[in-house]
């Protein structure tokens, strides 16, 4: 790291709790589930339950200019990112538009299949069984022109993987670096890590960064079902001995990261200072899976023990086991550490999950929320993190928050933040 200090001067989130940091704080404090049954075609695929944001489309204009950012060009995950970004801009006191050459936008998201129904219609036009065969299919290019008419240019635009961050830069007027980080559920936290790095490297003085995710697409839900993500018993129980999987949630969580002098010059509210970060990869199934996770945590926070942690807490058998073992390996005694995860209440929000949990932990460390504490009966592997869900960490100046993300694909990230006086 250089001698440039990076501060967190704003945070926002969207989820089944609602929009904004206050909704997140209240939701975490309540301990109540915001999950509900899924309707229509989504009820036909597993798991049939998830966390959805209830916000009418007409209210989107409260967060971004719908004449500039057309909903027809946005996927739902892009929209969720822009809603959180609009809320964040208002909180931080930045006006969208020109005059931000020194600020940028990074967003972690997921490459999602385009609109299911339109794709299915195009498929029906294009696909046929080969002549003389009773099974199998070929794509009949002779019908290509008809199939392409079923998909508009906007469908195509929405599907481009860089679009989420591109929308943010247009929304904000930020002319600094903009990038969509992809490829795993850790990409949201990776975008925060890279944003801290961008400021450290003098690429920008301010960065919007976080994650956004929309899982409610039929093929995606089925795909995750085949990967063993979803529970079939309707509840998510992180680190519990009887955990059975997770449930999907949509949402976004963004931070505003700012170079310290710039933040102090404008009298910004400071949530904390970034004091370390890391990301690592290990091939799933590798014997070092746990130790690489622990190394990620220790690389972000080389000394001391965090007061608050923001683990993923998916309720997944293997992922929870390795996550808990990694924390125990990295820090040993966590008896004074409190953990915050929104996953049991709003569902697993993919690349937004780790930033959302981190936002919750930062709120707690700053005394802006008191997350409901729960007693969890863990097993021998998960006992370390199971206990932290019932504990409260230090609040106020000097409190150290550690956010982490460990993905099914083996991509891991962590970031450490210290609350300032």
């Amino acid at each position: 790291m250089s001698d440039r200090r990076v501060l967190i001067t704003g945070l926002s989130a969207t989820s089944a709790f609602g929009v904004g940091s206050q909704a997140l704080a209240e939701g975490l404090a309540s301990g109540a589930s915001a999950l509900g049954e899924l309707a229509d075609r989504l009820a036909l695929v597993p798991p049939g339950i998830g966390g959805q944001l209830d916000l009418p489309r007409k209210e989107f204009r409260n967060f971004f200019d719908t004449r500039v950012l057309r909903l027809s060009t946005m996927t739902r995950q892009t929209t969720l990112g822009c809603i959180a970004c609009g809320d964040l801009m208002a909180l931080v006191g930045l006006e969208p538009g020109e005059g931000h050459p020194d600020k940028g936008a990074y967003l972690g998201s997921f490459i999602l299949p385009p609109d299911f129904k339109k794709q299915a219609i195009a498929m029906k036009l294009l696909s046929h069984r080969p002549e003389g065969e009773d099974t199998g299919f070929v794509l009949d290019d002779a019908r290509l022109d008809q199939a392409m008419k079923k998909a508009s240019a906007f469908d195509f635009l929405r599907a481009l993987p860089n679009m989420p961050s591109s929308h943010l830069s247009i929304q904000t007027g930020f002319q600094g670096p903009a990038c969509t980080y992809l490829g795993s559920d850790s990409s949201g936290l990776q975008s925060v890590v890279m944003a801290a790095g961008a400021i450290d490297s003098s690429l920008a003085d301010g960065m919007v960064a976080g994650g956004a995710f929309f899982p409610f697409q039929e093929v995606h839900l089925w795909w995750q079902q085949t990967r063993g993500l979803w529970t079939d018993d309707g509840s998510v129980r992180p680190y519990a001995a009887d955990r059975a999987g997770t449930l999907p949630g949509e949402g976004s969580a963004l931070f505003f990261l700012e170079e310290a002098d710039a933040a102090e010059a404008r009298g910004a509210r400071v949530w904390g200072e970034v004091i370390g970060w890391a990301h690592r990869f290990v091939t799933p199934g590798d014997p070092d899976e746990v130790s690489v996770r622990a190394e990620t945590l220790r690389a972000a926070l080389p000394e001391g023990t965090p007061d608050w942690i923001a683990p993923v807490g998916m309720g997944h058998g293997d992922l929870d086991r390795m996550e808990s073992l990694a924390y125990a390996e990295a820090f040993g005694d966590l008896s004074s550490t409190g953990a915050v995860t929104a996953v049991p209440q709003v569902g697993f929000t993919g690349p937004a999950a780790a930033p959302m949990n981190l936002a919750g932990a930062l709120l707690a460390a700053n005394g802006e929320t008191s997350p409901a504490r729960v007693t969890v009966a863990g097993d021998s592997d998960t006992s370390a993190l199971a206990a932290t869900l019932g504990q409260t960490g230090k609040v106020g100046a000097g409190s150290v928050v550690l956010g982490s993300s460990f993905s099914l694909d083996g991509v891991h990230a962590a970031i450490a933040i210290r609350v300032l006086a």
């Binding site: 860089n162 890279m194 490297s201 093929v219 199934g285 083996g410």
Partner: protein, 433 residues
């Protein structure tokens, strides 16, 4: 952490050939590698032409647990392994750098298998003897996704699978996957530079790959009227900065560079190919579908790369342009170059690699960076194909016809993404310490 960043390995697969040398020779001959689409029948589309990779690269069937299948995996892995081999990384005489200090940063798009997945589900639903799927109820497809195995195939290729296979081959314990569309390759290189400078890694492989000669992606770009429709003259279709350009031509392939801090590379006996001097990032913050016509975002990107490299504008002796051959890009890029270089611009040679191989989207910037490394190493600028009728709105010193010998110290490589995301890389000649 101070010190220069150097390129110690390069790899490339494009329509111009498989391997850096094959590509470079074709580029220097100025021969178009664009032809009719042969991967499927594009008759129903407005554009029937593309820069397809000739043949199939020689890659392992698997790297560790990662099966290498399909075009994006094969091209990306080939480029990565070629770069690693040139840098002397991997294999029996691997370098002495721990895995936690090795990284892979990859830019790539996606291989949309949605149509195939849906068709397989429809196949499972459809009675024997029936030959089309018109009667299939869309909702009825859904329960069959669990049965058909197509979803497992979906997981086999993704940008992440490619990145992880390369990371496995390189024994790298850090990975990043970026997307800034057509700027992706340079964004990956930019992130790699910053990771090295911050001391987070000692060696980074940056990779850009795309294989978008698909029904879905070409259809989408056709719907946006972005592709050339000069179907009767494929070799003449991609013509950056030419007055008669009518859109870009889709390409495919991959390019990779190995980046290290100079002192680390020299200490292990590596010979740098070029210096990766700096990177500039910017956003137009304007529109999704068009660059800012005033070129302000593009100019910011270029100037930031020059500044980041500790250079001045007179250090730049060649520009590898983004040059897509679309009306909007080429005029905006020309305007931006004017903003950066002013009166000096007519004296700087410019060429457009896409004139020969088409547009590799996420791979384009990485290709440009490998081309820049070859340019400063060999002091040779490759020509732009099909530059026949100068466009007054693109008043640049375009190198056309044949490759030109040139005394080039610094090169700018431009990559400007759909959606207004820009990344420029500055490359310099390496002439010893």
């Amino acid at each position: 952490m101070a010190g220069r960043i150097v390129i110690t390995g390069t790899g490339m697969v494009t329509a111009a050939g498989i391997g850096v040398d094959a590509c470079w020779e074709t580029l220097c001959r100025g021969e178009s590698a664009i032809g009719p689409v042969t991967l499927w029948d594009p008759t129903g589309m407005d554009s029937h032409i593309a820069g397809e990779v000739p043949g199939w690269p020689d890659v392992p069937e698997a790297i560790g647990p990662y099966e290498i299948t399909g075009r994006p995996m094969s091209f990306g892995v080939y480029a990565a392994l070629e770069a690693m081999a040139e840098a002397g990384i991997g294999g029996d005489n691997d370098i002495d750098v721990p895995p936690s200090r090795r990284a892979v940063v990859a830019a790539g798009g996606f291989d949309d298998q949605m149509l195939g997945i849906l068709a397989r589900a429809a196949d499972a639903l459809t009675p024997a003897g029936q030959h089309d799927f018109d009667d299939v109820d869309i909702d009825a497809l859904l329960p069959h996704f669990g049965d058909v195995g197509a979803l497992a195939e979906m997981a086999r290729y993704s940008q992440v699978q490619l990145m992880q296979a390369v990371a496995h081959a390189m024994k790298a314990r850090q990975t990043l996957a970026v997307s800034t569309a057509c700027a992706g390759g340079n964004t990956a290189i930019g992130d790699a530079i910053c990771m090295l400078r911050r001391g987070e890694a000692d060696v980074v492989l940056a990779l850009g790959v795309d294989t978008l000669i698909t029904r879905e992606m070409m259809g989408g770009f056709c719907n946006l009227t972005a592709l050339s429709t000069r179907n009767d003259e494929p070799a003449r279709a991609s013509r950056p900065f030419d007055a008669n350009r009518d859109g870009f031509v889709m390409g495919e392939g991959a390019a990779a560079v190995i980046l290290e801090r100079e002192e680390v590379a020299l200490a292990r006996g590596a010979t740098p190919i070029a210096v990766l001097a700096g990177v500039g990032h910017s956003s137009d913050a304007f529109r999704l579908t068009a660059p800012h016509p005033a070129g302000t975002g593009m100019a910011l990107s270029m100037q930031r790369a020059i500044d980041d490299g500790g250079m001045v504008n007179t250090d730049i002796g060649y520009i590898n342009a983004h040059g897509t051959s679309t009306a909007a890009n080429d005029t905006a890029e020309t305007t931006a170059l004017g903003l950066v270089f002013g009166d000096r611009l007519p004296g700087i040679p410019v060429s457009g690699t896409k004139s020969i191989i088409g547009h590799l989207i996420h791979g384009a910037g990485a290709v440009g960076t490998v081309v820049a490394a070859k340019t400063v190493q060999q002091q040779l600028v490759h020509p732009t194909a099909n530059y026949e009728t100068p466009d007054p709105a693109c008043d640049l010193n375009i190198v056309a016809g044949a490759a030109e010998k040139a005394d080039v110290d610094g090169v700018l490589v431009n990559a400007f993404g759909f959606g207004g995301q820009n990344a420029t890389v500055a490359v310099r000649r390496w002439a010893g310490t």
